[in-house]
Symmetry: C2
Subunit: 374 residues, 2 copies
């Protein structure tokens, strides 16, 4: 275990301080304050590019640096971003970038940065704009629970303000132009993160995913494209960006998600009716292992935390609330763990630190609840 020696560079020092602010938040992506059991978070992102500028994939380092220099002040000036933090990826440590990635504020691409890549983040983490990812601009709004409309309004407002200041690459025929043809048109992807242990348990999640695919929705794991659904968490998003208007896409997704939520609620009810002991056992074991293990790999922890969340939401576990679980889902991630421990940790050290963090948090929560009841 190597202690983190403050920071490597002067700017790094500042950044660690800036990141510290984030670490006190819960992050918008992980339910922070959301009131929906099943929809963890909502997200809308827009892909935009500047007119007459080479797209990031084909641009030289110089061109990309110029783009960051030009866009950074524009983004920081947006009222919808106030107060914001502007972070140039090249100034950050690997760990800093992983923290941002784990908080869903940058994509995996930006964790191994190229010239000119940066992000401007609203301090409450509800909005973030990446520069020189696949496109010049990736605007995203994140909201806890099912708040697609609200997230859409946020990015739409930022998009309009930016467009007043810089000209976008736009075709009358196709709409907004993007690096990847799958984004051409609206450039929009709206998505929700769903927690579906009931459907997984009842072995009904397969048919549900098939049905969603049939009506033009994509289902992915916790970390988007190509990832599996650990912790029973599924990301559902629109596939089509061409033809439909943004409002329609958002309201269509909203309607469908409400249906999936109903399916999940229904599955949980049927589960309790037909296999109550199996649920009690699943939830009980999750709590038992999380409260007592001394080694916990990331994936196992996610699965067990999903069980804990289910137990809380179904009223089986009274000593805990969803907030406890959601805090842990964020802080038990590798980079977060290392910042909390103030040390660079090898994988097996992380598994131990993760188990210790979870054990202590759950014990504290339980004791607080107990002393309240006494």
């Amino acid at each position: 275990m190597k202690r983190l020696r403050g920071c490597a560079t002067a700017s790094g020092c500042l950044l660690i301080m800036k990141l510290d602010k984030f670490l006190k938040n819960q992050g918008a992506w992980m339910g922070g304050g959301g009131d929906s059991d099943i929809v963890i978070s909502s997200r809308v992102r827009l892909a935009r590019n500047l007119r007459d500028e080479t797209f990031p994939g084909r641009a030289s380092d110089e061109q990309r640096l110029k783009i960051w220099g030009r866009l950074k002040p524009v983004l920081a000036s947006l009222a919808a971003m106030d107060p914001s933090v502007s972070l140039y990826m090249g100034d950050l440590s690997d760990l800093d970038r992983m923290i941002l990635f784990e908080r869903h504020l940058i994509s995996r691409e930006l964790t191994v940065p190229r010239a000119g890549q940066g992000v401007v983040i609203r301090q409450d983490e509800r909005a973030a704009i990446m520069v020189n990812e696949e496109d010049h601009l990736r605007l995203q709004a994140l909201r806890p629970g099912l708040m697609l409309q609200n997230a859409w309004e946020c990015v739409d407002e930022m998009d309009s303000r930016i467009e007043e200041m810089v000209p976008y690459a736009f075709s009358e025929k196709l709409g907004y132009l993007t690096s990847c043809p799958t984004n051409v048109g609206t450039g929009m992807r709206a998505s929700v993160m769903l927690h579906l242990p009931g459907l997984v348990f009842m072995e009904e999640v397969g048919p549900v995913i098939k049905g969603l695919n049939k009506i033009g929705l994509t289902v992915r794991g916790l970390w988007g494209e190509g990832t599996e659904a650990v912790g029973n968490m599924f990301q559902v998003s629109n596939q089509i960006t061409l033809g439909d208007c943004e409002k329609e896409i958002v309201s269509h997704l909203q309607t469908i998600v409400e249906e999936v939520v109903e399916h999940e609620q229904n599955a949980r009810l049927r589960l309790m009716e037909s296999r109550e002991h199996v649920v009690l056992d699943y939830v009980g074991r999750a709590l038992g292992i999380l409260s007592n293990a001394h080694i916990l790999a990331s994936k196992e922890a996610l699965g067990l935390l999903s069980g804990l969340r289910l137990g809380i939401e179904m009223g089986i576990l009274k000593d805990f609330n969803r907030q406890t679980v959601d805090d842990l889902l964020v802080s038990a991630q590798p980079a977060h763990l290392q910042v909390i421990e103030k040390a660079e940790l090898a994988p097996e050290e992380r598994d131990r630190a993760r188990a210790e963090l979870i054990r202590k948090r759950l014990a504290r929560r339980r004791n607080r609840k107990r002393s309240k009841n006494e």
Copy 2:
């Protein structure tokens, strides 16, 4: 779930009452009062047959009934058995017989009884004599911990008294004659039940077993011949009954067992030095699952209780003592569970009842410890 309706027969009723007495004991085989961490129990048994009587395997029902009628008063009159209970297998319910089997008082053969099979048991369960099992007589003495010498003296004393009253099948050349040639000679099998999680963990139990086999000892699982070592419990016994005298066999086994105990202690120490977190994790998970699961199959429960026992013996778990674990190892068995629940339980009902029993006992134990400390 079918409630047990008292008992089927008048004699059954009496027997349930008799068995109730047993259920209040912990049984001699499961460490009751023993002071050794690693040696759970010691057992010595003698196989004997009556002269000029057909051996049980070839005897008619009538002949076997005659043998039981002849031997029962002899056995009940032994001072070493006082006070005793005489049980004729045919009078017992399946459940009653399973209770006796789970307490290591009769062999599996007697759970599906033939004519003339019975057992006389000393009420503290430290001695039991089966009639018409493989041989006319199977005398056994059970002791908690490493008490081979004491167990040997007990069966030797009973054997001498019986021989004064009935003539044994004996050959000057071969010694005592038995149904199976492996028992001819002394007719004695001395064995100990060892709990070896340290050696299993360090992957050293294989070489140890090989070593024991080389010097003429047999290693078996919890239930003797042909069973696997669930719960890290191993039965070590002498193979040879011909040539050596009983005292030599017993003292040889005692010496060897002391060596194995040293190996196990050593393995535990090295384990804590080299892989402390793995042990803490193993013990923690065992406690976590046992305290919170709602479904526990017999084999999983045994494995987890072994983990708990290890944690207690290594001073990792301070809220529990070995007695709690050993009680559970007895009462979490299928027949015991059904008697405790006063109901006939299907296998899945047993798994639930087992989980509930363990959960409640551990919670009670922990609360008692807590309130003591406050």
